[in-house]
Symmetry: C2
Subunit: 609 residues, 2 copies
């Protein structure tokens, strides 16, 4: 028998003795504590996340579902899926608070990120003025809060009223050492922050409670700028061609963030005025557009951004609907094509703090790569193109419901789809699987040429050989014949293979150049951190088979999920991390690949599988 203590926040909600090997989820349910588990405890929905506060976290015992469902930060914080935990000693477990089943506990006290945000609230009852104490209202505040007042004039105008209507009982909003806002009474409870990852294609927003570090909710949306071009270059062109194009694109993304905030408001019943800080990550062009800064010089050589250092802007200047005295931080960027998202990912994998050398690869619309350790980091951007996001692939699609996400070719062709829905298309992990297996069974030559059905006749199982068809006069492989409920047959075409070759060669060549510049061998690299949703789902073995990641590094891959988003959350929760982001910018040297002959040569060499 072991002793189990269950908590919600600081409140103890259960103290019981349990049998050895009891399933944690079942024990929680028996206690009458609600826990949403749509999958019925089979470990596939990822909803039963709990924080192990005392007891074995046993990272090495994480099973594949846990590896997939828990983010890097969650794992580091000591989170597990309750359905996967068998009790083998005394434990203290924190459950999501009631009514927050949607959210997850991001960090506990023992996590690697202490909850000490740059922005904070302090409550005080000030001494009232008298003939013996005639200090001005502002001095009175400064003295009580031991902070220098940086109240904007607009706030200063309200100050006498706020002080007197609340009998000098007030809460200050403090940014670092600077008092930036003042509220009547004790408002310490209502204190939230927002982290937003603005991708070229998708946007993700995370609402965090700045008192506890708890993640209240997540919201995702497509980037509405897509209407003006799938890639950043067409959006830059739009800002050049159209006089108010930049403003239009800025408004689109700001309005989308404001809609996310409204959704959070109605879902969690709080006011957007209680969000005091937003941290934004994204590529350099997204960050510039968000701030309304011109992007045209990033499009042409030598690719110069207006600003790369961290910006902390008053929320009103951006038009973001959070507390008007709040701050909107744009995390620092490294160069025109290595943005705040890369800085976020470097922070998330902690490579700038470690002695060991890490390689970080973020494969999204472009592929950004960083190599180094606490002494120095080099980073580059490869125009890998969005093939692994499904773009430029005939039946490609993002990693959403209905996408073919795994493919296996044995006697016949097996595949799975996200949500087990009828196949609508194929996403990155499915593409990597398919290409790797087409190579293995000889349908693809190392040059990337796809053999015809005739060429493989008799050498492959008939069901597999029969899948080689012809589209537009060239061979194409039928991954998923149209089934009931599906819209179409799903193929991988010869042209798709060429796209994959271009993309993987660009990433692989980028890695090669960074290793050369840093004079680092495969053996020197301790870990390969794979950022982006893609990295969570691909088969690493297959990624090495197709040459996206060098085979020598196959065993060192650690997926970190949305590294950029995690970095943004870390900067939101911790002043130290916020400040570290600027250190990362300064220590990271950008390597421009476009003009390098050695990059072009590596690229061509690495086109072959």
């Amino acid at each position: 028998m072991y002793f189990l203590k269950l908590m919600q926040g600081n409140r103890v909600v259960g103290q019981i003795e349990v049998e050895e090997n009891a399933n944690l989820l079942e024990v929680i349910r028996k206690q009458g504590l609600a826990m949403e588990t749509p999958c019925g405890g089979r470990g596939t929905c990822g909803k039963c996340k709990v924080l192990i506060k005392e007891g074995p976290i046993a990272k090495e015992n994480y099973d594949p579902e846990e590896m997939e469902k828990l983010s890097f930060v969650e794992k580091n914080a000591g989170m597990r899926l309750a359905c996967k935990v068998r009790i083998k000693e005394d434990m203290v477990v924190e459950l999501p608070a009631a009514g927050e089943t949607d959210g997850v506990i991001l960090t506990g006290g023992e996590s690697q990120v202490p909850i000490s945000p740059m922005i904070r609230k302090e409550h005080r009852i000030l001494q009232k003025p008298s003939l013996e104490n005639q200090m001005s209202d502002l001095e009175r505040l400064e003295e009580a809060f031991k902070a220098s007042a940086g109240l904007p004039l607009k706030e200063l105008k309200q100050l006498p009223t706020i002080l007197r209507e609340n009998q000098f009982d007030v809460t200050a909003v403090i940014w670092g050492q600077e008092l930036i806002g003042i509220e009547g009474g004790d408002t310490g409870e209502a204190f939230y922050g927002l982290a937003v990852d603005i991708g070229t294609t998708t946007m993700a927003g995370y609402l965090l409670d700045l008192k506890t570090g708890r993640q209240m909710g997540v919201s995702s949306a497509l980037n509405p700028q897509r209407a003006y071009g799938a890639d950043v270059i067409s959006r830059i062109d739009y800002t050049i061609e159209k006089a108010d194009g930049l403003k239009q694109l800025q408004d689109l993304v700001v309005n989308q963030i404001n809609r996310m905030i409204e959704d959070f408001e109605s879902k969690y019943g709080f006011s957007s005025r209680h969000i005091y800080h937003t941290v934004l990550v994204g590529n350099t062009i997204m960050m510039h557009i968000l701030a309304g800064l011109p992007v045209k010089n990033i499009a042409v050589s030598p690719f110069i951004p207006v600003v790369t250092k961290r910006m902390d802007l008053p929320a009103e200047e951006i038009g973001m609907k959070i507390n008007p005295t709040g701050r909107v931080t744009i995390l620092p960027m490294i160069a025109g094509y290595v943005g705040a998202d890369t800085v976020g990912a470097i922070m998330a994998c902690d490579m700038a703090e470690k002695e060991e050398i890490s390689l970080m690869i973020d494969i999204g619309t472009n592929g950004e790569i960083a190599l180094g350790n606490r002494d120095r980091i080099m980073a580059c951007s490869t125009a890998a193109g969005p093939a692994f996001e499904g773009a430029h692939i005939r039946h490609g699609m993002g990693g959403v419901r209905g996408a073919v996400n795994t493919v296996e070719i044995k006697d016949r062709v097996l595949y799975t789809t996200i949500g087990s829905a009828p196949a609508k298309g194929i996403c990155g992990s499915g593409i990597v699987d398919a290409v790797a297996q087409l190579l293995r069974c000889g349908i693809l030559e190392s040059s990337g040429r796809m053999k015809s059905a005739e060429e493989v006749e008799g050498k492959l199982p008939p069901e597999v050989a029969a899948r080689i068809r012809e589209l537009d006069g060239k061979p194409a492989f039928l991954i998923a014949p149209r089934e009931q409920g599906a819209e179409q047959d799903i193929y991988l075409t010869q042209k798709d293979i060429r796209e994959v070759q271009l993309a993987k060669a660009a990433v692989a060549a980028g890695i090669q150049i960074l290793m050369k510049e840093m004079d680092v061998s495969f053996d020197d690299i301790a870990h390969v951190y794979l950022a982006g949703g893609f990295g969570n789902y691909i088969n690493y073995n297959h990624a090495c088979v197709i040459g996206l990641i060098p085979k020598e590094l196959g065993g060192k891959i650690v997926p970190i999920g949305n590294g950029a988003g995690v970095g943004a959350k870390m900067a939101l929760l911790s002043r130290e991390c916020l400040e570290k982001s600027e250190k990362i910018r300064q220590m990271t040297q950008y390597i421009e690949l476009s003009s390098r002959l050695d990059f072009q040569m590596s690229f061509v060499d690495l086109m072959e599988f």
Copy 2:
């Protein structure tokens, strides 16, 4: 024969040998150098100011006209009226630059205020971006100017265009260590600042060239807020009664400053965009209204201002039409009734730097008094009322053309007026003269009662006795019978005498309380600095006779002119002075008189002449 070198700025415009005792103005004219002298060299117009760069400044030889026409700072800088200088040794003399005959040289290199403004301009040609140097535009600026960029977003949006349209040849506007503006090409020549003294009644603006420290021009105007009440209390009432009253009063004074700027623009042919810094002084209520801050709590006990520390506001926030990236500084205030004007005057007389103890008295609409030295200063405000500005006096008026400014009673009554114009009324110095002489000749009793003509019959010269008339059933003394061109007889009435008694008793009691608080005797006080236009013109002896200033201090009086305005100019020209102003605020202890019984008792005691 002596050697005389004449300069304009750094340019030598004349090198000549001159006879001993030659008149400097005549020598300058013989050289064909223009010098506007409306008075014909009689020392009354004060236009022929020159800076003695080498040679005897001989302050002790200043004659009364020079004492009057040259401000404290000008005298300290070594300025003289050319018409008053007789050459007695070799000299180097700087003349106003051609086309600047209206302006005066405020400070030379040897002056006590080094020209090193908080705001400055620096010109650089930046390295152009290339694939080898991909720094962002902002980093490039920071590196070139060794300053941290604090460009507002609006400016940042223009940055790429400004850099590229000017081939990276730019001028930065730097505030302290912070880069706040950027301009194409070398704009170092166009660099002006504005100091404004906002009085309850009048406003004075000084346009300064921030490169040289030269004063380009002066502008004065009535404070348009007068329409809402002559005193600050009625204006505060207006802001309470009328919902947008505060905004109205703010707009009035800001618009008046903007009109001054427009006048300077058309007069001196420069753009208001080339004014980068405005320093404002005035009483605490004027400063609050200018910033749009509520004043109602200053009106009632315990008289609390919103803010007293120095504010450096972006010009746009105030609506002041200078360069939009420029700064508007409101000098610090000490309390609700001891304002930025007092801080300016304390700075102008340098009392916060000296070991000797100084008393500073600024008599305007109220009387502010400061006593102390570099160790500590105490200050108070006495509700002296504006009697010495001519208010509440039957025929009182400000010190402008047509005001009786001196009065002498011997066998008959003699008087002079400003500009020798027909008498329109009587100003402060005339009032002090008149009261002192009425006391001396026995028409006034020490209680302040004015004797009737009958009472003095036979004791005074008949022409003098005949001047005692009766107005509203009480004695009144006819200072100036209506002469040709004048509007009316000018009287000093019994009620006027009572007003003077109240005013002088308040100031004298304030001095007594400060001396008591600081434990300072008359002997301990080295100098009495008299600020305000009034202080430049009154007869000190008479001020002591009526008891405005204690007789014991009579020999120590030094007039400093518009000390507030001089302080504002010093803060504009010197970062050190700007920062010193905040030190003065912090070291000055405010003494509230209103609730003190000992003040009331002193006040009553000191009502007698």
